[in-house]
């Protein structure tokens, strides 16, 4: 919160604000003191908000034309593509929007990993973020089932069958999820309902995410605590708004490229074949954004352990603030962590690649090594680095290294005395 008390200028504004302090909230958001060194990696929060709103708006429009019934869903999607005015555009925005959403969220998450944004006092922001990410994956999976193509049907079959790995109650849970003895119409209608619900849950969590963010304020590339407001901060509006806006425009160019030039490149041709419970497509591959986890699932030869490994790979992120024992946030001042960070990025990209390949031979071997390294990074490397790594000296403020000419306080002081 800003230190000063806000009073609206107009009489009506004051009258209204006394009864519902919306103007105080708006003032808090516009004046919010933000670190002045935020780089473009910090613009993805705004971009993600844009993605969420885009998915909700296009999704609402699609729901006006889509029919959630096993006999009609596939045809109603083709009806949207061919008959509905601009239906093709709205559907392509929605389908590619999911990919863009994940692209942005991965950059957002890896920015946090690089700059240590998940560390105290920002653990709750981070954990809410992980819950949002889980809900995004659920929404994406449920939405992918709705067109009722071959990939929809078999993707739904494989993912719901993951629950059958649970001992004793697994089969019962799967039947309960399906509402029958296989994926069928009852499954489709409930998936549609949940797909409609989840974005609004995400919206609520985004509000909490931002609320929790506004308690300590933004982390920044230097990763130090700053006083706010101070010389180290600028008001959110117009400084950050204009930077976020510019980044969003660049992002929308990429988005539009996919929508208008290669709208199907991220999908699978098999999903333009209507669901057939008697034939499984030769290669079942999830959407690109789930591939690393799919690779982890397949790299374990046991069914239950594979499912456990895949879930752990996601949930381990929630424990990250406590696994990373280093007090220094930003990788800029952690020479060893910086290298391990990039190895992790490469590891996840490799997992994504082998996840798209058949699970055999060399691919399987690579998947196993990469899976092992993924867990090694979080469970061994991060805790050990905290007490082994020799970190670089951190500056006292954002302005200090620039004005003092050195990131080291002692040398900066020396220079000052020399100048004097």
């Amino acid at each position: 919160m800003s230190d000063h008390e806000y009073t609206p200028k107009s009489k009506f504004g004051k009258w209204f604000n006394d009864r519902l302090p919306l103007l105080t909230l708006a003032n808090h958001l516009t004046d919010y003191p933000t670190p002045k060194n935020l780089n473009y990696w910090w613009t993805f929060g705004g971009i993600l908000t844009f993605c969420l709103i885009t998915q909700i708006v296009t999704g609402l429009v699609l729901a006006m034309h889509y029919i959630a019934h096993a006999d009609m869903a596939f045809d109603s999607v083709e009806h949207i593509m061919r008959d509905v005015n601009y239906g093709w555009l709205i559907r392509y925005i929605h389908a590619n929007g999911a990919s863009m959403f994940f692209l942005a969220v991965y950059i957002h998450i890896f920015r946090s990993l690089f700059y240590g944004s998940y560390k105290a006092p920002r653990e709750i922001i981070w954990i809410i973020g992980i819950i949002i990410y889980l809900l995004m994956m659920a929404a994406a999976f449920l939405g992918y089932v709705l067109p009722w193509g071959q990939m929809s049907f078999w993707g739904a079959t494989v993912i719901t069958n993951l629950f059958s790995a649970i001992p004793l109650v697994g089969e019962g849970i799967v039947t309960w999820l399906w509402g029958g003895y296989s994926v069928d119409n009852p499954t489709l209608t409930r998936f549609f309902t949940l797909h409609y619900l989840i974005p609004f849950l995400i919206l609520g969590l985004v509000v909490l995410h931002i609320w929790a963010l506004h308690v300590p304020g933004n982390n920044n590339p230097v990763g130090i605590d700053i006083k706010k407001p101070s010389k180290d901060t600028v008001p959110f509006h117009p400084y950050i708004v204009i930077k976020d806006g510019f980044a969003l425009l660049m992002f929308m160019i990429v988005f539009a490229f996919f929508v208008f030039y290669t709208p199907n490149i991220l999908g699978h041709a098999d999903n333009y074949i209507e669901a057939n419970p008697l034939v499984t497509p030769a290669h079942i591959v999830p959407e690109w954004y789930l591939l690393p986890f799919y690779a982890i699932l397949r790299s374990v030869p046991d069914k239950l352990l594979g499912v456990i490994a895949m879930l752990s790979a996601i949930l381990i992120l929630a424990a990250l603030p406590w696994l990373d024992s280093s007090k220094i946030r930003s990788a800029v001042f952690r020479p060893l962590y910086k290298q391990f960070y990039w190895i992790l990025v490469a590891d996840v990209l490799i997992l994504g690649y082998v996840g798209a390949m058949p699970a055999e031979g060399l691919y399987l071997l690579v998947a196993r090594v990469a899976t092992a390294y993924y867990f090694l990074h979080f469970l061994v490397i991060l805790p050990v680095l905290g007490w082994k790594e020799k970190t670089l000296p951190i500056p006292l403020s954002i302005t200090e290294p620039i004005l003092g000419g050195s990131p080291n306080l002692a040398t900066a002081k020396n220079k000052e005395s020399l100048n004097n």
Binding site: W154, T157, V158, T160, N161, L162, S164, T175, W176, L177, W178, G179, G180, Y181, S182, V183, D184, P186, R190, P277, L278, V279, T280, P281, A282, H283, I284, R298, P301, D302, K303, L304, G306, P358, A359, E360
Partner: protein, 169 residues
Amino acid sequence: MSEKKTNRRDFLFTATYAVGAVGVGATIWPMIDQMNPDASVKALASTEVDVSAVSPGKTITVLWRGKPVFIRRRTQDEIAEARSVKLGDLKHPEKDEDRAKDPEWLVMLGVCTHLGCVPLDQKGEYNGWFCPCHGSHYDISGRIRKGPAPTNMEIPKYEFVNANTIKIG
């Protein structure tokens, strides 16, 4: 006031919580149970199949409860192969005699026990079925031999109504 005495009010609180918990449970259960298979789904529990047109070495696939059922008329070689396997070599040991009551006819759910894909006929390293999703190999008795699937393909309840008709379910 060192020792807390249980009085009438504590009893009332506990009784209220207990009744409240039962009430909440009774309200939530219909919300959960409505997702289980409904009466119309359960009504489709059995299917009768005419198998007179199936020649030896052929498999037909029929739909039962929304799932594929493989009905294979096995050749003499296949039966011999299925029956010669040692139980010790199997991940999920089951005798072929227990899986195919009439050795000529193998009736089983065509659903991979890993994650539910439909395995492909006459593929894989054991001349049986091969699941393309995650690479499980089944033999000519539908038993898991290699890959991530934990168990053999399931044998549904079935019976021969007459020489040409199988009733599944």
